[in-house]
């Protein structure tokens, strides 16, 4: 995956124009994140208006100063000229200061609001992500979700902190200037309108051309980055096969294609600036010619007779008119792509979270002499399911034992492709159940159903006799512990990672668990022992060591049911033999589901299920299955292959 700083300053020119689907709704929802700052937003808008007006009015003072102060004094017509000159300049300065102060104020307030809104959006996005069902993560790549946090939130940030304010301010400036222009001379304003249409047409033309080139560039960027990623991730294999030269040659071709596409896209993107700028000069010249003629002829306008001062002010306005239009046209693309990004962010926030309508909860329990179970508010070491019956309103308690039943479970990740077919099984409390079968036979799927990573219809799976769909998900998962094939560790100390299994575990509990999993000895040899910081998903530890930590993590959670999905596959057999004792004591008294490649790990199970294409084709203990001389026998004697 590319660096976390994906968008980066200046990286924005690289994106093709994406159109948001529903601008109105998206904008409204972004603003709903700033709802509580409503008075502040109104204040911001007021400040933006003041700042924009100040610059418009300030410019109009130019005319005033020249026409009403300086010119009369040249002609020597007036005696109070000097004081009027000073007064006008003072008013002008005050307007300017107010303008600059407003600029500062809106930027400062907006900074607060926009960063808080972004913070809320990020937290919302993350909280939502944590609540999404596993199915979501199956269908979205990490890179895809990650770019919601980096690119999309970043462009949104850009929009909130820059584009929005300059958009409003540009709009007001344009309107203000336009009104002043009409006031001074509607005749010359006609030219402005004409020019405006030229600009719009030109922008549309260049925009559509550059849009196509940007798409082409994006395609090439994707290809080059894909090649870079693949060849660098696999560079060791490249070297082993002496493929360096071939890789270099191939990359050269891809890279040059990228250069060609990028040159075109970039040329079109940056041609806009000089075009706009010089159009405004041409406009200026035309205005000057026509304005000059009008001034000489003394044409009447709304503001009275057309004078030299009018021409000068009007010319200044033509410059002021062009700049914000240029700004709007530049900002327009970034606002659109920010809105498109916001839509993608919101679409994750709108995803349906894991449904959890479970109401059976796990509570501390006491058992009195008669065997009645009651709830306790202290930690008793005994747990019970608190089951409020909706029909009768009565509450029953069932002791947490760890019995698991599957009743004719059929399941598929996609409706048309079933992975499990009519699975029926029964695990008594404390039994060890093993699943054996090829990749794709459905072993992991079974365990995914027990902890409700995926849901099945009511009544198909029962835990201690309770329909698992009725059990609150968090409580169900707390009563199960998993050691997965791919161990994922989190940034933090070794101790933190073990404590991941149970947040309130003491240091001693964690060390005890580590000893149980036989992880203690290697942890002691780490530079900082239990305080060694693990980074980058435990890149500084070997596969085997990470797996040992995962086992310790499960041990500290101390649940009645344990799921081991290829938990020891990365540990060599000698180490496995060493931790076997730990594993045995970890498994003692618990219901255990084991998935393993090595048949030696499963042979002492109470029951072994051989799975094929989602069906249990053989079941029984090791001796039964060997005696059956079926698939298991073949597997065990090495006559058949597991892949």
């Amino acid at each position: 995956m590319a660096g976390p700083r994906g968008g980066g300053p200046g990286g924005r020119g690289q994106k093709p124009l994406e159109k948001p689907k529903n601008v109105g709704v998206t904008i409204r929802r972004i603003f709903s994140y700033m709802k509580e700052y409503k008075p502040m937003i109104i204040l911001v808008v007021v400040f933006i208006i003041i700042s924009a007006l100040a610059s418009v009015i300030g410019t109009s003072f130019l005319k005033k100063v020249i026409d009403d102060c300086i010119k009369p004094m040249i002609d020597g017509k007036t005696d109070e000229g000097m004081s009027k000159f000073i007064k006008t300049l003072t008013v002008m300065s005050i307007v300017y200061v107010i303008g600059a102060a407003s600029t500062f104020c809106y930027a400062r307030i907006m900074l607060n609001i926009s960063t808080k809104a972004l913070y809320k959006i990020r937290v919302d996005l993350f909280t939502k992500m944590e609540a999404l069902p596993i199915r979501f993560f199956d269908t979205h790549t990490h890179g895809e979700v990650m770019s919601r946090y980096t690119n999309d939130v970043d462009t949104l940030r850009e929009m909130l902190s820059n584009s929005l304010a300059s958009f409003i301010s540009a709009f007001i400036t344009v309107t203000g200037v336009f009104v002043m222009m009409i006031y001074y001379s509607w005749q010359l304003t006609l030219i402005v309108i004409l020019l405006f249409f030229v600009i719009v047409k030109l922008t549309a033309f260049i925009g559509s051309r550059s849009g196509a080139y940007f798409k082409e560039q994006q395609k090439n960027v994707g290809r080059a980055n894909g090649y870079i990623e693949e060849m660098i991730e696999g560079v060791k294999v490249v070297k082993v096969f002496c493929h360096e030269q071939k890789a270099k040659n191939e990359f050269d071709v891809i890279n040059d294609d990228l250069r060609k596409a990028a040159t075109k896209a970039n040329t079109f993107a940056s041609i806009m600036g000089p075009l706009m700028n010089n159009l405004s000069y041409i406009h200026y010249a035309i205005t000057a010619i026509i304005g000059g003629i009008m001034a000489i002829k003394g044409v009447h306008t709304f503001s009275g007779v057309f004078t030299v001062g009018t021409v000068i002010a009007f010319l200044q306005y033509t410059r002021n008119f062009a700049m914000p239009i240029q700004q709007i046209s530049q900002q327009f693309n970034s606002v659109l792509s920010a809105l498109a990004g916001a839509e993608r962010v919101l679409s994750i926030i709108d995803e349906t979270p894991e449904v959890d309508d479970g109401y059976v909860t796990l509570v501390n329990a006491k058992i009195d002499e008669n065997g009645n179970i009651t709830e306790s508010d202290k930690r008793t070491g005994i747990w019970a399911w608190k089951h409020p019956h909706q029909a009768t309103g009565e509450v029953t308690y069932t002791k947490l034992e760890g019995r698991v039943e599957f009743d004719d479970v059929t399941f598929g990740y996609e409706p048309e492709k079933t992975v499990l077919n009519g699975i029926t099984l029964y695990a008594k409390a404390g039994q060890k159940i093993a699943f054996v079968g090829s990749t794709g036979a459905g072993k992991t799927t079974i365990t995914n159903l027990i902890n409700r990573f995926y849901d099945v219809p009511d009544g198909k799976i029962r835990y201690d006799g309770i329909n698992i769909n009725k059990i609150k998900k968090a409580d169900l998962r707390r009563s199960l512990s998993m050691v997965l094939q791919d161990t994922h560790l989190f940034t933090g100390t070794v101790m933190d990672n073990i404590r991941f299994g149970k947040l309130d575990a003491s240091d001693d509990d964690c060390i005890k668990a580590a000893k149980l999993a036989n992880a203690h000895s290697f942890i002691k040899h780490l530079p900082e022992g239990y305080n060694t910081v693990i980074t980058g998903d435990g890149a500084n530890l070997s596969q085997g060591q990470r797996q040992l930590l995962a086992i310790a993590r499960a041990a500290v959670a101390d649940p009645p049911v344990l799921i081991l999905d290829e938990a020891t596959s990365s540990i060599d057999t000698r180490t496995e033999a060493l931790i076997e004792k730990g594993m045995d004591s970890l498994m003692a008294g618990r219901t255990v589901f084991v998935i393993a490649h090595r048949l030696s790990t499963v042979r002492n199970s109470n029951a072994i299920m051989v799975l094929e294409h989602g069906k249990i084709i053989e079941r029984g203990d090791h001796d039964d299955l060997i005696a059956q001389k079926g698939k298991y026998y073949q597997l065990y004697t090495g006559m058949f292959e597991l892949s």
């Binding site: 100063v65 600029t103 660098i232 696999g234 990749t439």
Partner: protein, 576 residues
């Protein structure tokens, strides 16, 4: 640092030079145009020039604008050509450099970081480069040009710039120096926050299985809040730029109006000159802002530049320099008192005092616990790493005397962490030998027991593997990797735990095929299963970086405690 990146303009020097030139042309027009504007007002409208003069000057101005537009558009084109060419060269150099890296160099950077440097960082530097060639000359020329014009119009009045320019310049410098460390802090926190997200994405099953959503939410909320605070702290300085610019500009305009106005009243200046002067205020202060932005951009992209130059400056520590172009004569291997550590600073070497002689054509098994340096040992044979002390000989010659291609063509390694590439199965297998005939490919697949499943695919050898070979299972992938190595027809074949996901029966079949087809090939097999190495001519037991025992299966069972222990741990299942 710049010196290292400079050669990347090769082939695009012309455009790199032309871009600032046409930009200066554009600036020239932009600076001259206000002068024409003044003439229009003073002579044409105000003065004696009349309509015909106004029209004449107006047309001149349109022509100048068109010239400026042409220069500007050329600037856009040349700039794009130069910067995209520059980044292409930069990417190429980086990519080639990485391809020349030794395993040690690669370990030092990590592949993920190398990918970032080739993508995000190059992008960043490319943008700064474009900004630089377009603006670094344009802005100062504009500043000086406009200043000269202003002085030309009215020297006395230009004194205001002596006050305004230093004030604005100093403010920009202060803002930047204060903002920079704050932005750095913000980026650090931002990276940390994103790595939290990434961790949660990768480990989502662990988070859910242990019901840690609330805990992670709290952690993220704290991180996001830290980012927010850092962002406010950094940007609240940057937002001062705009008002300071405005205040300076407005103050200058008012002063010019006052002093200039008085000059006009006194008859020392024309009205048109006054308004021209005001236009120059815009240009002068605007270009000053532009210069400070260029600095900002360079400062921001400095981190990326450093990261790129780090890669460019890294010397591949394994090269062909002292090699002669000889071929590997046979598959014999010898280790002479070899020690090795991955880092020079390491207290204890990973491999210590290895003395070992393997005859050509022998089959050797290597057994040892995780971390006993099995992989390290075999990595020294194709010179993936260089020994720290001692020497490794292949075919009777020190591995350092061979050209790498010659050596590695004869020593084929199937890596533990193996990779297939996007493309079809056949394309992937051809990696071993591009000239391989279809029969040779099929024969290798047969030996690696890969033919069965390949033929079961509807597209057979033309099946597309997808990026990283996602379309085949672990065991299938391993067998394809073995076949790929076989196609090379090496003198030495090394399998590093390459059949761990393959079942015992197939494993045995592969070994049998090896025996029959690769009789002359020295074969080294690293395995966890005793059954995989049992039939080898000799087995090496590695323990903690040292050779604990060498011998046949039966000998080791009798003499080697470690071997016996491993054997026992795997036999338990079979005895009852």
């Amino acid at each position: 640092m710049i010196k290292k990146l400079f050669p990347c303009i090769k082939g695009y020097e012309k455009y790199t030079l032309l871009t600032p030139l046409v930009m200066i042309g554009e600036v020239g027009m932009e600076v001259l145009i206000p002068l024409v504007m003044a003439k229009i007002v003073d002579v044409g409208i105000e003065g004696s020039g009349g309509t015909s003069y106004t029209v004449k000057m107006g047309i001149l101005m349109v022509v100048m604008a068109c010239v400026s537009m042409m220069f500007g558009s050329l600037g856009a084109y040349f700039g794009a050509k130069a910067s995209m060419g520059f980044s292409k060269n930069l990417r190429n150099r980086l990519f080639n450099k990485v391809q020349d890296f030794s395993f040690k160099n690669i370990d030092k950077f990590s592949t993920a970081s190398l990918v970032t440097r080739l993508t995000t960082d190059v992008n960043m530097v490319q943008n700064s480069f474009l900004m630089f060639i377009k603006m670094a000359f344009r802005a100062p020329v504009m500043l000086i040009g406009a200043l000269i014009m202003a002085i030309n119009v009215k020297p006395d009045l230009s004194v205001v710039f002596l006050v305004a320019v230093p004030i604005l310049g100093l403010s920009m410098v202060l803002i930047m120096t204060h903002a920079h460390p704050r932005f750095k802090l913000m980026l650090e926190r931002y990276d940390k926050m994103n790595s939290d997200v990434q961790e949660n994405l990768i480990g989502i099953r662990a988070v859910k299985a242990f019901v840690r959503e609330d805990y992670e939410n709290k952690k993220f909320t704290t991180g996001a809040d830290l980012v927010r605070r850092a962002q406010v702290a950094a940007e609240k300085i940057v937002i001062l730029t705009q008002p300071i610019m405005q205040i300076t500009m407005y103050a200058t305009i008012v002063s010019v109006l006052w002093f200039g106005g008085n000059m006009v009243i006194g008859g020392d200046m024309l009205i048109g000159e006054l308004s021209t002067f005001i236009t120059y205020i815009n240009q002068i202060l605007g270009s000053l802002m532009m210069i400070s932005m260029i600095f900002m951009m360079l400062v921001i992209s400095r981190a990326s530049m450093t990261r790129i130059v780090e890669v460019l400056e890294e010397d591949p520590d394994i090269t062909d320099d002292n090699a002669t172009d000889v071929k590997v004569e046979n598959g014999s291997i010898e280790f002479k008192n070899v020690s090795f550590s991955y880092k020079e600073s390491a207290e204890e070497a990973v491999l210590r005092n290895i003395d070992l002689k393997i005859a050509s054509g022998e089959t050797i098994g290597i057994i040892g616990a995780t971390g006993s340096a099995k992989t390290t040992l075999i990595s020294l044979i194709p010179r993936l790493y260089d020994v720290t002390s001692g020497e490794v000989l292949v075919g009777g010659r020190n591995v350092k005397d061979y050209k790498l291609a010659n050596l590695r063509d004869e020593v084929s390694v199937v890596l533990q962490k193996n990779v297939l590439f996007s493309g079809t199965i056949r394309e992937n297998l051809r990696w071993g030998d591009f000239e391989a005939t279809d029969e040779e490919i099929e024969k290798a697949c047969e030996a690696a027991c890969a033919d069965e499943f390949i033929n079961s695919f509807p597209d057979g050898y033309e099946t597309d593997l997808g990026q990283g070979g996602v379309n085949v299972s672990g065991g299938q992938k391993q067998r394809l990797c073995i076949a790929r190595a076989l196609i090379k027809k090496p003198k030495i074949l090394i399998l590093d735990d390459s059949t761990s996901a393959v079942d015992t029966a197939t494993d045995a079949k592969i070994r049998k095929a090896f025996k029959e087809q690769l009789d002359d090939t020295t074969t080294i097999i690293i395995a966890q299963r005793i059954s995989s190495v049992k039939d080898a001519d000799r087995i090496i037991v590695l323990e903690d970086g040292e050779i604990d025992g060498i011998g046949t299966h039966d000998e080791l069972l009798k003499t080697n405690a470690v071997y016996k222990e491993v054997y026992d741990s795997q036999q338990k299942g079979d005895e009852d």
